[in-house]
Symmetry: C2
Subunit: 225 residues, 2 copies
C-alpha cells in the first residue's frame, strides 16, 4: 500500500518509517515546519528519508504561528527542563497540532491517490497529548473516510506501544537511532534535560538497548562546542 | 459565545457572520489563502469584516499548494464554465480543504479560549463536496471534542439550507450582498459563467431577492474594463 507518513525525524516516526518499509509499503515522508524551536529535527528527517530512498517534503506552516503561539515550541517561552509534569508538557503543546498535520497529510494522500496516512502516536503520549489517544485517532479515521470520495486510512501503529517498545522494535529493524533527533531545544547536541530528552534516555534504559545519542552534560563543555 | 468563523467573503459565510453577530456572539474571522485563483474574495472578506467590526485575519497557506495542486482553484487548469456538473465541480475541489481549514480554526479557537468554530457549508454543496455533508461535520465535531482538554464546538448553521434560503436569511439580516465575492475566476467583475456565479444568480432568482451583483456579460465590454 502507499502511505504518506508524518515524519519528524524523531525516534518514533523514524521507527514507523522503517516498519512501513519493512512491510513493503511505498512511503512519502511529510515533515511540517510550524515554526518550532527544534527545526534541527527537519534536517535529521531529510537525512533519514534519503537513507531509505523515501521521497521527503517539508511543508512550511510557519505562517500559522500567529494561530498556534500558545506553546513553548512556537513562542519565546522557556522550554521546561526535567521529566515531564502535566503542567510542563502542556507548555510544549501546539494546539490541535495532530489534526492540522493529519489534515494536510490526508489532502496530499488524496491528491496522490494514496491509500493511507500514518503517524507515530504512542501510549506514553496519551495522558498528555489528547490528540495521540485512540478515541481521537478513531474520530479522525471516520473524518478521513468522509472527507472525499477517495477514502483514506489512518494508521497509528504504535498507539499501544510504550516508547521503550518502539526502541526495541527500532533496534530489530536496524533504525539508525544516532541520526534521529528528539530534543526540543534544537542546539548542537541533545540537551539531556528537557522532557523529550529525559523520555528518550529512559526509553533506551528500559529497553536495554544501547543509546547512541550524544547528550550535552551540564557543567561540562561538550565536544561539539 | 465566542466563535472563530471560516470566512471567505462569499455570500454564505458573510450571511453566517451577520447571523452570528445578530445573536450577540463575538466572532473572529479567519480567511485562508491557499493559493486559490479567486484571491479577490480575500479583499472582499476584509471589507465585510470591517463593516461589522469583527477582527479579521488571513492565514497564508499558499506553501501547501504542492500538496493541493489537483484543483483548478490552485493550478493552471481552466475554470470550467456553465452550471456545475459532477465532473466540473470535482475540478474545483481542493482536496480535504474543509478539514484543513477547520483544523486551523480549531487550533486558533483553543489558543484564544473560544468555544466554537463556525463554517457555512450548505445543502447545495452536499452532492459535490463530501466535506460539506452532515456525516463529515459530525465526525469533525467528535474530533474537535477530543483533540484537546478544551473542547471545541463545530457549528454549521446552514447545513440544511439551500443557497436561496441563505440569500433569504441574508436579506432579512441586511447582509451587504454587493460586497460579497463568489466568482472562481477572480477578475474585475463576477464572470457570470463559472459554476459558482451560475449558482449565485440562481440563488437570488429562486429567493426572489434582487441581485446587486455586476456580472460581466460575454461579448460586451464591461464598464470596469
Amino acid at each position: 500500500m502507499k502511505y504518506v507518513l508524518l515524519f519528524s525525524g524523531g525516534l518514533d516516526s523514524t521507527t514507523a518509517l522503517y516498519w512501513l518499509k519493512s512491510l513493503g509499503h511505498e512511503v512519502r515522508c511529510l515533515s511540517i515546519d510550524y515554526g518550532q524551536r527544534h527545526r534541527k529535527e527537519l534536517s535529521a528527517a531529510k537525512k533519514i528519508a534519503a537513507r531509505v530512498n523515501a521521497p521527503f517534503h517539508i511543508l512550511d506552516l510557519s505562517a500559522a504561528r500567529f494561530l498556534l503561539s500558545g506553546s513553548s515550541q512556537t513562542s519565546e517561552l522557556e522550554v521546561p527542563e526535567g521529566h515531564y509534569t502535566e503542567e510542563s508538557m502542556k507548555l510544549t503543546i501546539v494546539p490541535n497540532r495532530n489534526m492540522i498535520m493529519l489534515s494536510m497529510a490526508i489532502g496530499w494522500a488524496i491528491n496522490l491517490g494514496y491509500g493511507g496516512v500514518a503517524y507515530a502516536a504512542h501510549n506514553g503520549d496519551h495522558a498528555i497529548y489528547p490528540d495521540c489517544r485512540k478515541e481521537f485517532i478513531e474520530a479522525m479515521q471516520t473524518s478521513a473516510k468522509l472527507c472525499d470520495w477517495h477514502s483514506i486510512d489512518i494508521l497509528a501503529p504504535f498507539v499501544d506501544f510504550s516508547k521503550s517498545e518502539i526502541v526495541k522494535l527500532g533496534a530489530e529493524l536496524k533504525v539508525p537511532f544516532e541520526l534521529t533527533w528528539s530534543c526540543y531545544k534544537g542546539e548542537d547536541l541533545h540537551c539531556g534535560k528537557c522532557g523529550t530528552c529525559v523520555e528518550r534516555k529512559e526509553a533506551f534504559d528500559l529497553s536495554q538497548i544501547s543509546d547512541p545519542t550524544f547528550y550535552e552534560i551540564p557543567g561540562k563543555i561538550s565536544v561539539s562546542l
